[in-house]
Amino acid sequence: MSVRTAPEVAAPPHTTDRTRRVRSLRRARAADVLVAVCWSSVAAAVSLYLAYGGLAEVTDVGSALTAAGVITGLVGTDLILIMLVLAARLPLIDRLVGQDTAMAFHRQLGKPALYLILAHGVLLTIGYALADGSTVVAETVSLFQSPDMPLAYLGVGLLVAVVVTSLVAVRRRFSYEAWHLVHLLSYAAVLVALPHQLSAGGVLAEGTVQRVYWIALYVLAFGSIAVFRFGLPALRSLRHGVRVAAIEPVAPGVVSLHLVGRDLDRLQTVGGQYAIWRFWSGKTWWHAHPLSFSAVPTSTTARITVRSLGAGSDSLSRLRPGTRVSLEGPYGIFTDAHRTSPKLALVAAGIGITPVRSLLEHSELRPGEATVLLRGTDSTQTYLWDEVGVLSAARGATLYSMVGPRPPGLATWMSAEALGRGVTITSVFPELLDSDLYVCGPQVWTDLVVRDAKAAGLPDRQIHVERFDW
């Protein structure tokens, strides 16, 4: 009998662990390449000037300032174009590092980019004035009268407005919508600066490779924005025709919005993801809401759950069935696909339960693989806990809950009662270091959970946090 024995069946759990590790290594590698591409583009911006032979022109102080002015302009503009790409919600970037990480990088680049552009103007004006033997004022007047230069000055003005309104202290005074409207001016700022870049200096002169490269960068940045920020979401919204079907209050100030639409499964939403929603009623259409799916969509239905935080989300509870809904997304890496380790630890507080619930729903788990901790200040914050209970039972996950206020004057994410009993993050999740920790809740609370996890020795790549504060 030469019947071969069946191949070992014990493999699957093992391979999934291995697949996870390989996937996460691959992602990390791709993310590193992406970072390197960003910095290389800065080097390329400098290189444009070097290849033009700019260094040969540096003979005295004036020409040195002029050279520095040209380089700061090239690098500053390159950074702004990178910022546009980061804000374009490219699927690749979202998949590799997540849109929130991309936006954190975007924010970091804002001020340096502005300083470089301002330095560009100042250095060139002084450099030119020295070369021409004139004054800075006279040089500014003459620059202003040169072709394409008034537009360039307008661009700087817009850029200053955009960055100033984004400073934390100033931003708080604006509503998100007003701020965002000003922010959109950055597109205009970068566009009106283009003519003088192509005409005023020789680096990007007609017929040069430099010019082709530079225009390609512009096309890439604005193309990504046009396609992924505007085109694709508009197409998806039209294609799926999402409408509000019903509004279900689940707790004081918390409602679940039941949505219907066509072929919603084609969105390929993964549990734990979110979308940016717009509800087309008179009072709500101008407000975009980043909200997690609180259940994995079927082909015709989807559900999101929202707590009234600002004026915008309060009016959502008064939406009428039938209201049209448009969406951008789905986005997010608070998903099973981004796990790196054999075990799963989920912590949710308040409305943070929504992505945790859909993540749990969408995960294939072995019994004992996952541990869930639900946190609420009081019994009004236990919405959707029953559903998580059912899912946990079905997937063999251990479920804990922690209800009660935090002790006054102590920086902790736990209740006073749990703290008193000596509960720690490792007593809840004994296998924490072999786990991926997913945390979703209020910002300050989330940071405290992450602090404890890191203190226990959990590396960054095993910590997954969903935040919507961008």
């Binding site: 590698r29 960003c38 290849a51 032979g53």
Partner: protein
């Protein structure tokens, strides 16, 4: 940023910068030697009919003018007309000047083309050209100081001017 990302960034940035620098030094070494191509055919047209042909002999006579010094200046039929200089290429664009000669003196220097590759070059040459014109008219030659901060324009302007003067055959 991870170490690997840092390393990749540094390596690729260095490669890009070195390449740019190499390209740049090649470009400047081949261009700084101002190429002055053969004078365009336009000079025939722009040096119009009034060009007095008899003076063509005076150009050879010019050398001998030293010997016949007393009679030289009155006998040399004074040159008149317009003469177009060579078009001189610079990295910022071509420069070409035309001179108007009346009775052997340069009465006007006109810039037919100035460096115009980019906005900055235009403003530099617009500043330099009037100064160069003044100096050339005063000196009646191309042996004048260039304008500081406008090296390329000055060199090309004076080279073109010299070739126009050579054509006119006037010696200062």
């Amino acid at each position: 940023m991870t170490k690997r990302a840092l390393l990749l960034s540094v390596l690729s940035s260095t490669a890009i910068l070195v390449t740019g620098w190499q390209l740049g030094s090649q470009a400047t070494s081949s261009v700084t030697a101002t190429v002055s191509p053969a004078e365009p055919a336009g000079s025939a047209g722009s040096a119009p009919a009034p060009t007095p042909l008899p003076s063509s002999s005076s150009s050879s006579g010019g050398t001998s003018s030293g010997t016949a010094s007393p009679s030289a200046s009155p006998t040399t039929a004074a040159v008149s007309g317009t003469f177009t200089g060579d078009s001189v290429q610079t990295r910022y664009g071509a420069v070409q000047v035309q001179i108007t000669v009346a009775s052997g003196t340069i009465s006007e220097v006109t810039a037919l083309h100035l460096t115009d590759a980019d906005g900055r070059s235009v403003s530099i040459s617009n500043r330099a050209a009037p100064v160069l014109r003044q100096e050339a008219l005063a000196a009646q030659s191309a042996q004048v100081q260039g304008v500081s901060g406008a090296t390329y324009t000055s060199q090309a302007y004076l080279t073109s001017l010299q070739s126009a003067i050579d054509q006119a055959g006037i010696t200062p």
